[in-house]
Symmetry: C2
Subunit: 231 residues, 2 copies
């Protein structure tokens, strides 16, 4: 374990030194082993460790590639360990309300034509799942991430998947009520960006997230009333 | 490795099910082994894995405790893999400018007397290092984290150490210029919170971060001018 750990760090340095970016292919295990002066098995173990940390992606029969959002783990902030999940959901929405409306405004200014096609495509993907009554959290996170990427800020697209994570956990409580408004607001946001109307994009995103927090806050209030009545 | 991985997840579930929080002590390895029906060595390996993921902290001769900011890794967003570090620094400051001023305003309303004592103590710690010409990034991050914790938002204190990380990387470029204004602004922020003046706290934090971004942006502009002249 110790040895593969050291080799894993050497591979991270190799990726950085070579300037390999998301989606770029790494040399073969044989070549990496020769470069680092270790055995192929050691390289393979180290690559598995890096795959576990989402730094590389191993595609069977194809090769090893730098992962999308390299180094971003499944629960990077350790939100699993915040015990009060409703409070957590409210706090995540507060962070989203601070970040996402101005980012949507920036996106309306900086999005390329290709970005806009992708945002509209994801809007359709989310909304068709909402109308069918299916789970839509994954597509929703992708829609918000695409907007963040269009802003050309490099940090926010890495934050979005995290600050969406807990919404998925609690979605049973809120999905129906949220879905009612979500489809219409997704249209507002996507079209404002497509029309490069920064203020409209910012306001639509702001309204969307405020409606979300209002709903969660009502549930929090109701729960604390219920528990004080039963106490 | 596979087996200790499964046991590691069982230990995570144990921590969550028992409601253990930051700083709480876990049962002994012997007791955990008995509860999970595995050997002590397997438990020890799994605890080491959790320590590597900052979920527990093993103190020799004392025992195993739930870690501070459990589950929050060293570089949880994988910012190491964003190649353009100056652009990254600007983008991190943009995120901080969106989040930290309103959070400082909230802190002025919600901070306890104990929170305020801690903020003032950390302000003194940062400023005495600045005046001595020493590195102050660690104390600066602690100062900003203490303000975020005083806001009682559970997510922002976990974001602050991350969005401070790259500032440390680039500090050689900017430390001298930033230090000049930092000490005075830290006073403004800390005293506004101590006086429970939300608008003053929000504005002081806003000014502080805008001055930071202005400086970084000037460096970015200068570099792009230099590279276009040499092209």
């Amino acid at each position: 374990v110790k040895k593969s750990g050291t080799i894993a760090e050497a591979l991270v340095r190799f990726i950085l030194d070579e300037g390999l970016a998301e989606g770029d292919k790494l040399p073969s295990e044989t070549e990496l082993a020769a470069r680092l002066g270790v055995g192929r098995n050691t390289v393979r173990e180290a690559l598995k460790e890096l795959a576990g940390r989402n730094i590389v992606r191993i595609r069977q029969g194809s090769g090893t590639y730098v992962a999308y959002n390299a180094g971003l783990g499944a629960d990077p902030l350790g939100l699993t360990f915040i015990p009060d999940k409703l409070k957590l959901m409210e706090d995540l929405l507060t962070v989203r309300i601070l970040i996402e409306p101005p980012i949507a405004g920036m996106a309306a200014r900086t999005a390329t034509d290709e970005d806009i096609r992708e945002i509209l495509r994801l809007r359709d993907a989310v909304n068709s799942r909402i109308r069918a009554g299916d789970e839509y959290e994954e597509q929703d996170a992708a829609f918000h991430t695409a907007i963040a990427m269009s802003s050309k800020n490099t940090v926010v697209p890495r934050l979005i998947p995290i600050i969406h994570s807990t919404v998925t956990m609690l979605v049973d409580v809120t999905r129906k009520a949220l879905a009612r408004e979500a489809a219409a607001v997704h249209d507002d946001i996507a079209l404002a960006i497509a029309e490069r109307d920064a203020m409209a994009a910012q306001d639509a995103m702001h309204v969307h997230l405020l409606l979300n927090r209002q709903l969660v806050h009502k549930i929090v209030r109701q729960q604390s009333r219920d528990s004080s009545l039963s106490a």
